[in-house]
Symmetry: C2
DNA sequence: TGTACATCAGTGAACGCGCGTTCACTGATGTAC
DNA sequence: TGTACATCAGTGAACGCGCGTTCACTGATGTAC
């Protein structure tokens, strides 16, 4: 990968920097200088910073969604039951990838996912919905079967809450790790944190839905 | 408030814009033009944008932490038990304030809290720890008594996860509301969402802690 | 009471900086005849 | 085989823009003598 082409070097570097600092906070100058390519190369190959972001998404999400589809096939074929642990566990293991100790990978995945939702302009979200909406819907269906007592809309929001917990935590990892170290004298790897996250999210997603109406509906 | 002084007009406007778009995304020109004051007035009265952010925090958090202290006094005096619902409920009601239908207020509170943690430079976090660390520690103590089975460090992380769920959701409210409307044909107010959040967070915080060691410890 | 000076809120214009983007250009490789 | 042209990856420098900040300045109010 040291001698990879310009396009791949840009994508490799951009992926890491975007995950570490976010899209807006990562300048093209930072990417190109770290990648050892000319500043103008990004606009030459991708057309714009926005298009580079989209390309990073595509290169990352395409293999992920294929793997997720395969895992769900496998799950259905072998009769593994739909429980919140199983469904979320699949996503987490895929997000951590084959290198569960690589602190970057899960952060990249969830941070990219999160940016897609919080992006004010819709085009990125629209792109993702078009290309990856089917897998996401399939995942949500399994989750719904795992917690049939939670109405779809409630589940929609709980998935958002979960995404928020994951993204916020992984985004602020550096700060949080130093607090964790100061208060408890203990380091915390990404793998540790995702293992702490799973029970928390499962507890939240399968929580009982209060049956009183939500708000002033007599 | 229409005829308030320059300093208050800046603070009022900055608070709203910071909550809507975040600190980095809100320019001094946006604040001063909306507030109807001169651009240079911010640096004249506060010294820098960073100091303005700190002033917004102070004006918001001082009454909040006083009210929280009072509520915890009240709770202890009247013998209301420490349950996750009660402890989180207090925070939520205070964050929503006296106007539970004001979509801004909760967003301001949680977004400000969140920025304090995710800020890469420590000075803002240090400032908050000095001025509001005591109330926060008291809150965490009550939460610990509400879920005695969860070790302190696990609880620390679960509070982070909760913060993340709240902040991420409220930050992306505009986007999420349009998705919610498109998929379920239903509007969602901030008050609705905080009501959905409470059971989710309670479920997550009181989830059982897996007793197997976390990672490769034999 | 009048005058000189100090203080202070507020202003308009400019400064330097980093940003994404653009543009004219180079040099290597492929293709047509 | 040689020559003219086309294509394309990559480059260095500049562009315009919005940003936070700075600076000289104004005008009103207070204070000293």
């Amino acid at each position: 990968m040291a001698q990879a082409g310009t396009v791949d070097r840009i994508l490799d570097t951009a992926e890491v920097l975007f995950a570490q600092k976010g899209f807006a906070e990562t300048s093209l100058r930072a990417i190109t200088s770290k990648a050892g390519v000319n500043l103008a190369a990004v606009n030459y190959h991708f057309g714009s910073k926005e298009a580079l972001i989209q390309a990073v998404f595509e290169r990352f999400l395409t293999p992920f969604s294929l793997a997720l589809d395969a895992k769900l096939d496998e799950m259905e074929a072998s009769g593994i039951p739909d429980t919140p642990e199983n469904v979320l566990g699949i996503v987490f293991r895929l997000a951590l990838g084959t290198h569960p100790d690589d602190p970057q990978r899960a952060a990249i995945f969830f941070r990219l996912s999160g940016q897609a939702y919080s992006q004010p302009q819709g085009h990125l979200r629209e792109y993702l919905h078009t290309h990856y909406g089917a897998v996401f819907a399939r995942l949500q269906l399994h989750l719904h079967q795992a917690v049939p007592g939670v109405p779809p809309m409630e589940l929609f929001w709980r998935v958002q809450f979960s995404l928020g917990a994951v993204i916020f935590t992984l985004s602020g990892m550096q700060s949080l790790q130093s607090i964790s170290k100061a208060d408890f004298n203990m380091d915390a790897s990404t793998a540790d944190i995702t293992k702490r996250l799973l029970p928390f999210l499962v507890g939240g997603i399968q929580a009982e839905v209060p049956d009183q109406p939500l708000h002033k509906d007599k």
